[in-house]
Structure formats: C-alpha cells, structure tokens
C-alpha cells in the first residue's frame, strides 16, 4: 500500500521535478478559465433506502443505475498563484441532468479551488482540488450541501496568454442532513470538459 502511494506521488510530482528548473509562473500570476462539457453520472450511494441497492452505477433507467442521464456542465474559475506551482482561487459552475421521467436536476457548485501545475510553460498539466458549497434543485425541492472535485487536465497555450485544455474529473456530492439521516446519500459525477484559459 505504501509502495503504491509512493509510486503515485512520484508520478504526480515527477514532471514538476523534471521541469522545475524553469517555472513559467511567478507569485501573483493569475489565470482565468471558462469551461464547458458533459458530465457522466458514475455512482450513486444510497445506504438508507431499503427498497433500492446501496450502490448503483452509470446513466440508465433500471434500478442498478444512477437513474440520471448524461448532462451538461459549464463553469468559470479565477486563480492566483501563491508560488510558481500552486494557485488558489474560486470556481462557480452550473451543471444539469435529467431523471428518467425527463425532469431536470440542477447543481450550482461554489468552490474554493487549489491547483498544482507540475508541468508548465507552453504545455501544462494542471491538477486541481475544489471544495465548497453546492446548491441543487429538482422538481419543487432544493438543497444546499457540500461538494468536492478532483480534476486532472492537459492544456496548450497557443499564445503566451491564451490556452485550450481538456479535463476529466471526479465530482462527489454528499447530500448531508444533520437530523434526518435517512435522507443522506451521495452522488458522484465524471465531468469531461474543454477549457479556454487566459493567464497573466
């Protein structure tokens, strides 16, 4: 287990070590991104409902699926570099999908987002972790809860300022209730997005 973790960390940090000699960013550099794409429901964990399986997977309509459709996602983010490799900022998104009966479900994440850019310059590999509040609504009901997202991307800067990227992430949304535990369940999505970035 320790070996595997060590290997994973090396894999993540290796590019940074290799290219660490000439970082592109300085403390105070800024990056603004607009993102759009699709989001795939990957897993639904619902431990308190007796008549349904605890774990269901992927889009679909039968009881072993999440019963969400593939949906859409859009987001904007703004980050400032704290040092040449780490940036921190905010992320505001909008995500939607449908239940099998065709009713829309919406999600608005408002996250704090931290990004590590081990490989940087013309071609970059950003790895981000976002977490914060998420507002979701369905039919006439709504709920403010928490969410977090781990994202890995690859982006290429066509000019010094403008770049295009492709990202994949895991977006986990636990629906938390303090007193009504039987309403607690967790949804996980996999957004796949295209990003336009502007850095300065």
């Amino acid at each position: 287990m320790k070996k595997a973790l060590r290997f994973l960390l090396i894999l993540i940090f290796l590019p940074g070590m290799l290219f660490a000699a000439e970082p592109y960013y300085d403390k105070g550099s800024q990056i603004f991104s607009i993102t759009a794409g699709v989001t795939v429901p990957m897993m639904y964990y619902n431990p308190y409902e007796e008549e349904a399986p605890d774990l269901t997977f992927f889009p679909g309509s039968d009881e072993n699926t999440t019963r969400h459709t593939v949906g859409g996602i859009g987001a904007i983010s703004y980050q400032v570099f704290l040092n040449p490799y780490f940036a921190i900022g905010g992320h505001l998104g909008f995500q939607f999908d449908f239940s099998v009966s065709g009713t829309v479900a919406t999600y608005v994440p408002i996250y704090v987002k931290a990004t590590y850019v081990p490989l940087q310059g013309r071609f970059e590999i950003p790895i981000s972790l976002g977490a914060g509040l998420l507002y979701t609504s369905f039919n006439d009901f709504s709920k403010l809860t928490f969410g977090c997202e781990l994202e890995v991307g690859a982006r290429y800067f066509i000019t010094d300022e403008w770049g295009l990227g492709l990202n994949a992430s895991f977006h986990v949304i636990p629906e938390i209730y303090s007193s009504e535990k039987t309403k607690i369940s967790t949804m996980m999505f996999m957004p796949i997005t295209l990003t336009v970035s502007y850095r300065h």
Partner: protein
C-alpha cells in the same frame, strides 16, 4: 470568525432543507425515475383502483406508483374506449368496415401478444344507441374529459347519403353513462342522442360548437362576417340542444373555443377570455387584465364532481390559470388562481382524474400524473396561488381518494 462561518453555514443548510419531503433530492431523482412514465394519450377509466390508460400507443395501468403495460395496440384493428367495473371496453373495425365492440378483463390481456380474433368473438359487447340501429355504426369517436362522462361523436351507415348541401349533413352526439353499463359487461348504452350538424365539435360537458352556414371565426379577421352558433344542453337528460347565436359584426381576432358547459362558452381571442352567454353577445372576462399568451392544445376542463360546478384551467406561456364558476357573479368574483410552471413542468393535459380536497389530479401527456394544489390564501401580489408537482402517494394520498366514486 470560525464560529460566525459555522453559524451562517448551519443557517443556510437549515433553510435549504427540504422539510416537506421524507426523501433527499438525490433519492427523489432516483425514485422519480422509478415511475418511468410513458407519454399518456388517453385515460379510459378505473379498474381495481388502477387508472387504465393509453400511453406510448399501448394499454397501461397505473396503481399509484408504477405504470404497467397491459396490451399491445400498435398496428391492431382495435382500440380501448373506456374502462368500467372490471372490464376494459374496446372498439374494433369489422370486415365490412363498420365498428363493433368487445370487452376484456385485465387478467385476460397479455402485454406481449395481440388480442386474437377468437377472443374478440367470445367477448363481443352490444352497444345500444337510443333511436338507432347499433349495427349501423360507421365511425365513432369517444371523448372523455373526466372520469364521469363519456361523450360520443358518431356517424351511421346511410347518413347523408341523399344530402348534397354540406350544411345539411348531420352526425350524432350522445353520452355513455357509466352507471348504465350492464353488470354482466355485455352491453352499454349511448343515450341522450341528438342529431347535429356534421361540423360540430365537442367542447365541453354537453356543449357543442357548430359553425353556422359557412361561418367561421377567421384568424386575424376583425369582425364576424357570418353568424356563429353554439349549442348546449341544460341537463344531460335533455333531448334537444339550446342554441346561442353570436351575430355578425362582433369583433373577433382569433378563433379558439376553450370550453363550454351549460349555457356558456369560453372563447380565447388574442390571449383574452371572452364568454358567450344566452344573449349571444361576446363578453370580455377581464382576468385582472392579464395578457395571457396561450399555448397550443391548452385547455383544461375541471369539473367539481360533487355538484358539477366548473373550474377552468388554462395553460398560458408561463403558467396555468384556474378560475372557478364564481367569476360569473359580479358580486362574488373570485380572483383566478395563477400557478407558475416552468418549461420542465410543461403540461399537455390528457385527462382530469378527480379531486381530493383542494388537490386536483391530472394525467398529463408529459411528466405522468400531476397534482395541482390550490390555496385559498391571497399572496402579497393580490393573487390566489397554488402549486403543481408530480403525484406522490406518500404526500398526496392514495390514488383512489381522487376517483369520482370515492369523493
């Protein structure tokens, strides 16, 4: 600082909690999908506390939680017309091109196979038509606007055979009273039959609209250039229709008859309601001067089944408008209910099922079974409001609570 953030977050979480539901949002999404609604086309009646309906061109039953396929209809020469007691009644086309009937119980149907001609022969049903030869039915259309009444529009072999003037051509109107269906299920009666002009259309409970002598309410024309007539029965048992005539010269901008009942017809002209009463004048029903933009296919007829009083729901661009019968009495005007519905809640009404207190159950062409819940409390904007949501037995009561026989 940390404490303040925690308090704000706790308050936000509490405020946003869905206190009315026993399910979380994700659980609602999962279970909403479980219903797996089909596009409902017609509601035929109730058997064993299940609503029998046509959806996605197949016969389904709905027991309050799920729709179950009961019979194949696509490509068949039969179609269901109504359901009563323990049987579903079908019409089919005979070899000589006329219409005949048979019935089947739910447990006699196979959702994977068409109904055989042997079964149809064994389960034939006789339709008795007051004053006419049943075997001569050439074409028949059943109109069911709620679970109480089944109105029928039919033609007979030999109708209009010697008539050359299109204005003299006739068809027939009648009513199948559910209470008069034979207990052995072998016959039903079409009563209160009246001969009417061939151009008539059923627009309400015992209410017909007939364009008189080539007249029409032409879209875009400013004034009626021809007389237009509407017909209605005061009571179901009346043999004849009363006639209301709207005279030439009345200002008309568009033609859409929304609804009719008893002695009144409602007409939509450029998004405003007009009523036509016995004196034959068009009267504007100024519903708070709302400029409603009507949707296509947008009428809802809601009958209070205890006293047959009418409420009318009317879909407009952003919502649903419901006003009750008291708007006719200027001394007792009840402001209409205004329900905002968003596009994802789009309604194409198939049938009104019934009511349970202030909750009205509809089968809709989209989104399955919906509840419209009216509130008698005026909102701060001065309007009576209500809400609309998907039927859920847990919160809205058992399905049978909405059936006419149980109210």
């Amino acid at each position: 600082m940390k404490k303040a953030i925690l308090i704000i977050l706790s308050a936000l979480m509490l405020l946003s909690c869905n206190l009315d539901s026993s399910q979380g949002i994700f659980q609602q999404i999962y279970n909403d999908s479980k219903k797996d609604y089909r596009a409902i086309q017609y509601v035929h009646g109730v058997i064993d506390n299940k609503i029998i309906l046509t959806a996605d061109n197949a016969l389904y039953s709905f027991d309050g939680s799920a729709m179950t396929k009961e019979a194949i209809l696509v490509g068949q020469h039969y179609s269901p017309i109504f359901a009563e007691k323990d049987s579903i009644y079908f019409q089919y086309t005979t070899n000589d091109g006329n219409v005949a009937f048979f019935s089947a119980k739910l447990n006699e149907l196979d959702p994977t196979k068409p109904i055989t001609s042997d079964f149809i022969k064994e389960h034939e049903v006789t339709a008795i038509i007051d004053g006419h030869d049943t075997a001569q039915i050439k074409q028949i259309t059943f109109v069911i606007q709620n679970l109480d009444t089944i109105q029928v529009n039919f033609s007979l072999v030999g109708d209009n055979s010697a008539v050359t003037d299109p204005n003299d051509k006739i068809r027939h109107y009648g009513v199948v009273d559910r209470t008069l269906i034979a207990t052995d299920g072998k016959s039903f009666t079409i009563s209160n039959v009246a001969d009417v002009q061939s151009t008539f259309g059923i627009v309400g409970n015992s209410a017909l609209a007939v364009y008189q002598e080539d007249s029409e309410m032409a879209d875009g024309s400013e004034y009626l250039t021809n007389e237009i007539a509407f017909f209605y029965k005061e009571n179901f048992s009346d043999q004849n229709f009363n006639k209301i005539t709207v005279a030439t010269g009345n200002k008309v901008d568009a033609d859409k008859i929304i609804a009719g009942y008893d002695g009144e017809f409602l007409v939509d002209m450029q998004g405003h309601f007009y009523n036509i009463e016995e004196e034959g004048e068009l009267g504007r029903i100024d519903l708070d001067s709302n400029d409603l933009i009507p949707r296509k296919n947008n009428k809802l007829l809601v009958f209070d089944d205890t006293d047959k009083k009418l409420k009318i729901g009317y879909l407009y661009e952003d919502g649903i408008y419901i006003n009750d019968e008291s708007y006719k009495n200027s001394n007792n005007i009840h402001e209409p209910y205004v329900l905002d519905i968003s596009i994802e809640n789009d309604l194409q009404t198939a049938c009104w099922i019934g009511k349970n207190g202030n909750k009205y159950l509809f089968a809709t062409q989209e989104n399955g079974f919906r509840i419209i819940e009216l509130s008698d409390t005026k909102e701060s904007n001065g309007k009576y409001t209500g809400s609309i949501h998907q039927y859920n037995a847990e919160n809205d009561g058992q399905l049978s609570d909405y059936f006419p026989s149980s109210t």
